[in-house]
């Protein structure tokens, strides 16, 4: 095994808003192993993107972060110039919504130029590297694309440009945040191929945040399921789901009958003493509301539920 893994221990993220404190990530302890593509799935608002942004230190100023994030032996907790240099070069980001992530008034050339600046290359070398990057991501006419504005590209092309920007400095890790959100099946396939091609280009470790279960199944080596700010299960969850939430989430797929998950989500804060899914779980017992469920299973597949396993 090469490269550094991401170690997260008891990570919590709180947001202070006008109505009070909202806990987006609640005591997450997990290891994202290097050399693997890990999927992070879960419903909207469960804290997937916040967890990704916490790793990259891209949270807004009003967020409070507690807990530990280590990249190999290096701590990512505290702000330092060294850490700032690391982000982008060692850990890259492919953000969600390409149309919103690219500056509409700047050409693709300007975007890539900016992304390549940390490498300290000369202008001409940067241009050549940008051309090569675009060619690697399936553009046959990179010169034309470099001169194009984002609105002149299709959704799939914009996504590929974002992939090129995210991988410009050949990082060891990539965090891809909802790379297929709102794209049609044809474009989803294109994005999936693009992400798969990152492996060929030497980026072996990836955290793919998505609610597209098809993408997770086709692309990822292991999948973590997040609910109410906590990771409730990790492993081969799509074929052997153990947690009641994972089962309910899979039941909501059209091929499984589109069954919505029972009851309204009552928030993380209310049941932070016990299991985060207890309020909506059909099998919950008084114990589920009072105690945090233990980790059950092994390194390959674990679950946090009193009943599972």
């Amino acid at each position: 095994m090469v490269g550094k893994s991401l170690f997260i221990e008891e990570l919590s993220v709180d947001f202070m808003i006008s109505t009070g404190k909202v806990r987006a990530v609640d005591g997450v302890s997990v290891v994202f192993e290097s050399g693997k593509i890990t999927g992070l799935i879960g419903e909207s608002g469960c804290g997937k993107s916040v967890l990704g942004m916490a790793i990259l230190d891209l949270l807004p100023a009003y967020a409070t972060l507690n807990g530990k994030i280590d990249w190999g032996e290096q701590s990512l907790n505290e702000y330092s110039i060294r850490k700032r240099k690391l982000l982008g070069r060692e850990i890259g980001l492919i953000p969600q919504s390409p149309s919103e992530s690219l500056n509409p008034s700047r050409k693709v050339k300007a975007h890539l130029n900016e992304a390549l600046r940390p490498l300290g290359l000369k202008r001409q070398e940067r241009y050549k590297k940008a051309e090569k990057l675009l060619r690697d991501f399936g553009f046959n006419e990179p010169k034309r694309i470099l001169k194009a504005y984002p609105h002149e590209l299709s959704g799939g092309m914009q996504q590929r440009v974002l992939c090129a920007i995210g991988t410009a400095c050949s990082p060891e890790w990539i965090i891809a945040d909802e790379p297929t959100k709102g794209l049609d099946s044809e474009l989803c396939k294109q994005v999936q191929q693009t992400l798969q091609s990152l492996r060929i280009q030497g980026i072996k470790s990836m955290l793919v945040i998505t609610h597209d279960l098809q993408l997770a199944e086709d692309l990822c080596d292991t999948i973590a399921v997040m609910y109410g700010g906590q990771i409730v299960e990790m492993g081969d969850v799509l074929h052997h789901p153990l947690h009641p939430y994972t089962k309910a989430f899979l039941d909501a797929l059209p091929k499984n009958g589109l069954h919505p998950i029972s009851q309204i989500n009552k928030g993380v804060e209310q049941y932070s003493k016990g299991c985060c899914f207890a309020a909506r779980c059909l099998k919950s017992r008084p114990r589920c509301f009072q105690e945090k469920p233990p980790y059950k299973g092994d390194k390959m597949h674990w679950v946090r539920c009193f009943d599972a396993g």
Binding site: G45, S154, G182, E186, P254, L258, P260
Partner: protein
Amino acid sequence: MQDKAKILEAKNITKIFQNGFGKKSICSLKNVDITLNEGEILGLMGPSGCGKSTLARILLRLLPTDSGEVLWKGEAITKKCGHQLLAFQRGVQFIPQRPESSFDPRLRLGKSVVEPLSFFKESWSEKNRKRLQVLLTQLSISEELLGRYPHQVSGGEIQRLALCRALLLQPEVLILDESTSMLDVSVQAQMIQILADLQEKHHLSYLFITHDRELANYFCNRIIVMEKGEILKKGILQN
């Protein structure tokens, strides 16, 4: 299905967009015919850029056509304007893919939800208040959300609020343009369940635009597949 009355029709619709100061013409729709019957869920499928959303906008009279006409309950509305269109505008409502873009970011959601009533010169009466209460219950929307701003609610919540705003006008047709594609599977399932319940209760007709084949197969009575501005297939989709 054949016996049901036609509620919304598009006949021989062609739409050409001019690109690059008239240098290039792009034919977005080519002689498209589509019929939505009363109480029917009609699926409209196709890849990005095939003209689905353009057709929806033409049906809503948000875009003019180059040829062909749109009929509302058998009456051509393509050349009508102003107050002649009021019944149609109230009867056909639209739920976009990104509902957050259709809410004013400076207005609280409660104000945005009741705003269309003023367009139809309706006052904020007891009757409307009761109707809103019923809709909030049906759509599982907490009243507290109405005091928030659009950026303070989740994707599923804002989608339900957009649906609530449309239903407050008691429409007969809902045009849902990729309304569930931005939602995760659990919220999507909840939304589809709500739409199915509402359709049964209010006998609504839906034009359901989607690129999710499985979802269209599950939810729609009839499906139309488009490609490059033309209708490729009509009927029940199998594979």
